[in-house]
Amino acid sequence: MLSLTAERRWEIVAYGYGLLVTAVLGYFLVGLTIQVSDSFGNLLAVQEPTLGQVLRDQLSQRGYLRPLLWGQIKAVYELSAGDYFLWFRGIHVLQVAALIALCVHVMRPRDRLDAALVPLSLAVVVGAHTFMPLVREAFPINSFLTIAIACVAALALAQRAQPRWYVDAFAVALLAGSILTVESGVLVWVVSVAAYVVGMRGVSRTALITMTVAVVAYVLVRMLVLDVGSPSLSERASGFGFSTLEPADLVRRFEGRALVFYLYNIVSSIATVLFAEPKGGVWRFVWELTTGTLHPWTVVSVMSSTAATVLITWFVWSRRAAIRRWHLDGADRLVIVFGGVLLANAVISFPYTKNVIMSPSGVFLGLAVYVASRAWLRAIPQRHAAITIVLFTVLTCGWAFRVAGNHYNLRRTAAEQRAEWVTVDSWLDRQRIALRSADARALHDALRRDALVNHPTPFQPSTGWRNWFDIDW
């Protein structure tokens, strides 16, 4: 009874810290505004049609199949009744709260050491370069953040001791909702299957079969009925080597041998999570290193990510006998699921590399670091204290630095997003969007007023911080 109380106490401490991280991030998130690019156009698109029409229209798109994303935008747009800032920014804060709460739930801190590792693990989650686009952008609902939440939720369901019919139903609904929101929602299925394979039994076999049938049906309907296909080379710009190539350059360089480019994207996507290099397919650290222009941010991000990877590699090596015999404990399971998510996440991002697509893997990296750190600190003898000190100094200080940098970046983003509203009419001209209806003009005026007057730019960081954090994101 006494030990239960102690366990509960550390869990409460961990949730309390998670709440603090959420509150701080939330404060910076409400400093952002609804963007012009990626948001204003989307809101204009859902203004006129009904919810049913919005969903139906999405079934005839080429390259993408995201009806529920648009359904969510339409639903929140209608519910907001003109209070767009409160609803859309509020949802973003709630999304972050859900993600952090789920991460703490999955970590299950039980003692003092566990609780002490929660700040490091949450720093890995929140400080990652793959997390940044989850918070600095919205469309105006960040669908990639929705998927990251759904993936951790799927893991939390799988971690339950026994399957229950309502858990099964929720897991299937989670998959259906995710996969129809954005393509990477298929990772919910990957998490569920990987968790089952390693022995987590919170979701039943029947539910997994149902989820598998749903994924197969989705792929078949997408390919054979709706003829949606996947994004082509000419769809969008993507990083390659030391620069970002525009669609025309991609076609010129990889026409007829797209597989080379796709393989590059898969390898880059894995490397970006494990080493923070390349970022968005661009080998920034290597370029800075060879040109003598190393930026502190790049160095810290590469070193801290590499330290995390070293730690996880050591964990896998130290547990190789148990893994080979498939006698897995909770920590082994979490690390193997991370490996599965990383691989699947990289494979589905084959058409182009974007940090945000790898965001679920970035979140799972934080969870893997948590269990690997715990194992290291329990297993490594005192005589290796020097290695431990060096490794954990790089890890804890590096990731804390990255958390600070991401908050700095949010503050700069707040000014950049508002700057778009100053010249929104030029943007509308470039996009060839005409505000024909009174509703469209009212939306334009309301969002511009929100950005410029009602929620003015938060104070900008002093220039001294630029040398540390100001990089071209």
């Binding site: 810290y17 603090l20 991280v21 509150a23 701080v24 404060y27 910076f28 003092r112 050491l113 609780a115 002490a116 590792l117 929660v118 700040p119 490091l120 949450l122 720093a123 750190s373 600190l377 954990f392 804890t396 200080c397 990731w399 804390a400 630095f401 958390v403 600070a404 908050h407 503050r411 700069r412 000014a415 950049e416 508002r418 700057a419 509203w421 100053v422 010249t423 030029s426 950005a451 410029l452 007057v453 003015p456 730019t457 938060p458 104070f459 900008q460 960081p461 002093s462 220039t463 001294g464 911080w465």
Partner: protein
């Protein structure tokens, strides 16, 4: 002790950010430049929305304003909004100011050349300038 050391860096950053947020909510502005005090200063701080708001509230788009030390240079600067936009190479802001009635003097292109503002220079066109004169003129304002 080991546990505290493990948690310490992340805790310091999180609590630091919390103190920062609380201070801002109470009206202070630690670690930031605070609110812009003029249109040129807002532009220099890259708070273009702040500049637009001040203009839409009636600020003069031609008026010279003070940019505090530490924002663009270590010295305080007296510049027009257009000059501030050139110094930070903000062409969208240049267009906005011109649309709001700011007059573009010939020396502005020279200032763009002196400041190495590539996009502003492309927008303003080439002028025959004595290298450095325009920037020195701005820096020498009393």
């Amino acid at each position: 002790m080991r546990h505290v050391a493990l948690a310490c860096p992340a805790l310091v950053v999180t609590f630091g950010l919390m103190v920062f947020a609380c201070a801002e909510m109470l009206g202070a502005h630690p670690l930031t430049m605070g609110p812009p005090r003029s249109v040129p200063e807002a532009i220099a701080m890259r708070d273009e929305a702040g500049a637009a708001r001040l203009i839409e509230e009636g600020a003069d788009v031609r008026a010279i304003g003070l940019v505090r030390p530490g924002i663009l240079t270590d010295q305080p600067l007296l510049v027009t909004p257009l000059e501030a936009a050139v110094l930070v190479d903000a062409t969208a802001m240049l267009d906005f100011l011109v649309a709001r009635g700011a007059d573009v003097p010939d020396e502005l292109a020279c200032l763009a050349a002196d400041a190495g503002a590539r996009t502003a220079r492309a927008r303003l066109g080439e002028r025959t300038c004595h290298s450095g004169d325009a920037l020195r003129g701005v820096l020498a304002r009393p």
